[in-house]
């Protein structure tokens, strides 16, 4: 914003100066393109447009070619065939028109026209599979960085949306864009993200996949420190909150930072649902996290060390179910967990028209067969099923994978130390998350450090008018 101190409020007579005045209103942007068109009379016209937003074919056909063509007695700027022409009165108005998909034509002598040449963004049609929602837009990113930035500009029509590009040093000539909203995102976070992207881009990275892995793996932590998303609406919401998005070319996944643990419990559908329902669902997701981590370990702890902790009837029922199982509780749990993970992997890899059927049949058959063969007790099958289902209530898939991984740590400690081991495993996780940071932001924010005002927005969802003005 500092560089816009000398904002001009009116256009002058010089086309170059007018163009510079509009460019000065934009934060750093690598998609802001300037083109000089020489008319038949030798006059120079300046075209300013956002690459990816404007239909370049229409620009060429209806603006550039007519401008260049020879025509006597007619002002060149009247010859182009753009359908919708506006005359912005000030550089700021012109900048807004740019963001809305217009191309700016600066004529010698000071005339400025905004030509509506927005490129229609085709509907992706296909639902983004790891981020399915019921309510809300169904768009997702594509593999082109420039198209993805254009999608974001569709949602955030302001010159403050900045994008800086970095090229990977490998021979693939791939680029990575860092997007943020100037004035909203913390400057230190933006610089930290850029440094990280630059260091990853400078490394011996052969592909976009390697870049993403290198960018994300900055610590030996099982918990993800960044949210990845294919959805423009999620990325838009994050940018408006002050996050920074890293969009690599060749991948539909945008990386968002900084994030906290609470961000992994938010779904893009939340803002489209009633606030009471959303608040309850978010609390349910929190409970789901606890169930996913704790229940298998609790089963092992109770069955192996503290069976008298159960009420009598439940204890007798569990004991009778385990009577035919020759294995210790930990072995029982590990076997069933392995079955579930195999089923999950198989259903993810199989074609969708047979995958769901095989998953259902496999689940039922394996569950029944395991009980009949004496590999597992019915209570355990229920617990494993509940644990698996609750893990998939988490909206961000990277967190789902992490939770399914860390619960083996709880399982291990519970199998050795019982309930004490389970509690100590949770303490270890709490300590680890308390020391974790995502681009400088505390991972357990807003619980530790405590920010009660942010609970209204992060842990639950209060109505917008109760939340506005709480800041970051």
């Amino acid at each position: 914003m500092a560089e816009r101190n000398a904002e001009r409020t009116r256009f002058g007579r010089d086309a170059r100066e007018n163009a510079e005045a509009v460019k000065a209103l934009f934060a750093e942007n690598t998609d802001l393109t300037e083109r000089v068109v020489t008319g038949a009379d030798g006059a120079e016209y300046l075209l300013l447009f956002l690459d990816g937003v404007v239909d370049k074919e229409a620009l060429q056909r209806f603006v550039i070619l007519p401008l260049s063509a020879s025509c006597r007695g007619e002002a060149p700027e009247a010859r182009h065939a753009a359908a919708d022409v506006k005359l912005p009165a000030s550089p700021r108005e012109a900048a807004k028109a740019l963001c809305c998909g217009s191309a700016l034509l600066f004529s010698p002598g000071g005339g400025t026209q905004a030509l509506e040449l927005r490129k229609p963004q085709p509907d992706t049609g296909k639902e983004s599979s790891p981020e399915n929602i019921v309510l809300g837009p169904h768009a997702r990113f594509r593999n082109s960085c420039r198209s993805n930035i254009a999608l974001l500009r569709d949602c955030i029509r302001t010159p403050d949306l900045a994008s800086a590009e970095f090229a990977l040093q490998s021979g693939t000539l791939t680029k990575v864009a860092v997007c943020y909203i100037s004035g909203v995102a913390d400057g230190r976070v933006v610089e930290a993200v850029k440094r990280r992207v630059f260091s990853c881009a400078s490394a011996d990275v052969k592909s976009v996949t390697e870049f993403i892995e290198l960018f994300k793996e900055d610590r030996l932590s099982p918990f993800p420190q960044y949210v990845t998303s294919e959805r423009p609406d999620r990325v838009t919401e994050a940018l408006l909150r002050g996050c920074v998005a890293v969009i690599p070319d060749g991948s539909p996944w945008a990386i968002l930072a900084p994030v906290s643990f609470a961000d992994f419990l938010k779904s893009p559908e939340d803002s489209h649902s009633p606030w009471i329902y959303t608040s309850l669902i978010r609390l349910l997701r929190l409970v789901s996290v606890a169930i996913t981590i704790i229940t298998p370990a609790l089963y092992v702890a109770v069955m192996s060390f503290h069976p008298r902790m159960l009420p009598v009837k439940l204890m007798l029922s569990a004991a009778s179910g385990r009577a035919a199982v020759p294995l210790p509780a930990i072995a029982e749990v590990v076997i069933m967990e392995t079955f579930i993970e195999l089923l999950r992997e198989a259903s993810a890899s199989m074609p969708s028209n047979v995958g769901s059927t095989i998953s259902i049949v496999g689940g039922i058959v394996i569950g029944e067969a395991a009980i009949s063969a004496g590999l597992a007790s019915p209570l355990l099958v229920v617990i494993i099923a509940i644990s698996a289902v609750t893990s998939f209530t988490i909206p961000v898939y990277s967190m789902v994978i992490s939770l399914r991984t860390v619960r083996f740590f709880s399982l291990l400690l519970a199998s050795v130390f019982g309930f004490y081991g389970l509690i100590m495993s949770l303490i270890f996780m709490a300590i680890h998350m308390a020391s974790l940071k995502s681009m400088g932001e505390d991972y357990l924010f807003p619980v530790a450090p405590m920010r009660l005002k942010r609970w209204k927005r992060d842990l639950v969802r209060f109505p917008l008018r109760w939340v506005r003005g709480d800041g970051r």
Binding site: H306, P311, V312, F417, G418, A430, A434, A448, P449
Partner: protein, 370 residues
């Protein structure tokens, strides 16, 4: 000086840490122990809380006099090189002993009620490993852990109190609010006194607070949070403890009846819940805080030592102390020695404050150094 660079604490984190130290003493004092003092249990708790809060005042003054600096840094300036070194060494040793003494009773209870066949050395090693891991992240990480555990413990207590609400009997309240006399009040309050642990926490964590002026908001917040925490704990214990005079673990027998009925299988359930709520979390954090104080001292003696190595060294020392074969009498004696050392700390703090006043030749005890 802190264990890692660029750390800073918020006022609420300081309050949570201090309140944890305030509140953890109360649940560990059972009604049976209090019975010789014909004094209401809640009354004793409130007086003990008042005593603890009064003990924080000289600490706050000292912290205010030396903003951003720990005791290890300014004690040589005030007491001389030799005096400062002696004090710092004593603090480190007492801190390591305090860390060990926080864990020892918990491990014994664990062995008795939860894991009778698991060696204490093994269960202790796990807890010490967790404490060492907590130190790795620096003072702000320790503070965030304290904040998180405080919120968790307070939530658990609130749940227990809510579940006990149908069984609340106001006659028990009136009995436990009884006041019989000044002498009995004093002796009872001292017996419930949660030690100088909150004072230590404040002394060694407050220098890292981000806000410069801490006195008023910190004092008010500590008083409020500590009182709430204490009161809730006192309510729970008084309600249950008064109903069943069978000793330390009686408080939650009623709760376990609520869960599964009077089936004769309650002790395991009640002990497990008791362990989580009242023993493990606050005691664990107290151990971490004490080890942090010790590690900070070690780093001040050996500036080239890595913070992680200092944390590991003090953890190993505490573990070694825990494995010392001591019978109950020896343990109690050692505990009294530790308490005396902590009691003796107050005159040292007052002495340092006076020396600072005379050194700066200012009339106020709250003089800033810079």
């Amino acid at each position: 000086m802190n264990l890692t660079k660029n750390d800073g604490l918020s006022v609420f984190q300081l309050c949570a840490i201090t309140a944890m130290g305030l509140g953890m003493g109360i649940p560990n004092t059972n009604v049976t122990y209090m019975s010789p003092y014909r004094q209401g249990f809640i009354t004793n708790c409130l007086f003990a809380a008042a005593l603890t809060l009064i003990s924080l005042v000289p600490v706050l003054l000292l912290v205010r006099a030396f903003p951003g600096r720990t005791l290890y840094e300014y004690s040589p300036e005030l007491l001389g090189k030799g005096g400062g070194a002696v004090l710092n060494t004593a603090v480190v040793l007492v801190a390591i002993w305090t860390a060990a003494s926080e864990i020892r009773p918990t491990m014994n209870i664990l062995r008795s009620y939860l894991l009778p066949h698991t060696p204490v050395a093994v269960t202790t090693a796990l807890m010490i490993a967790a404490a060492c891991y907590a130190l790795r992240g620096g003072v702000s990480s320790v503070a965030r852990c304290g904040e998180f555990f405080f919120v968790t413990a307070a939530f658990c207590l609130a749940v227990v109190v809510a579940m006990a609400a149908p069984y609340l009997d106001l006659t028990y309240f009136s009995r436990h609010l009884a006041f019989t006399g000044a002498k009995e009040t004093a002796s009872a309050a001292f017996s419930v006194f949660s030690g100088f642990f909150p004072m230590w926490m404040l002394l060694f964590f407050a220098p890292f607070a981000k806000r410069g002026k801490l006195f008023a908001p910190l004092a008010v917040t500590v008083a409020a949070t500590g009182a709430v925490f204490l009161f809730m704990a006192a309510v729970v214990l008084s309600v249950f403890g008064a109903a069943l005079p069978s000793g330390m673990f009686s408080p939650l027998l009623e709760l376990s009846k609520l869960i599964g009925g009077d089936s004769g299988l309650m002790p395991e359930r009640s002990n497990i819940i008791f362990m989580v709520l009242y023993r493990l979390l606050p005691r664990f954090f107290a151990c971490v805080a004490a080890l942090y104080v010790a590690a900070l001292g070690l780093v001040s003696f050996f500036p080239r030592m890595k913070p992680q190595a200092a944390g590991a060294a003090v953890s190993v020392c505490a573990y070694g102390l825990l494995l010392l074969p001591m019978n109950d009498a020896e343990m109690i004696s050692a505990g009294h020695l530790c308490d005396l050392a902590q009691v003796g700390f107050i005159p040292v703090i007052l002495l340092m404050l006076l020396i600072n006043v005379f050194r700066n030749r200012r009339g106020s005890l709250c003089a800033y150094e810079g």
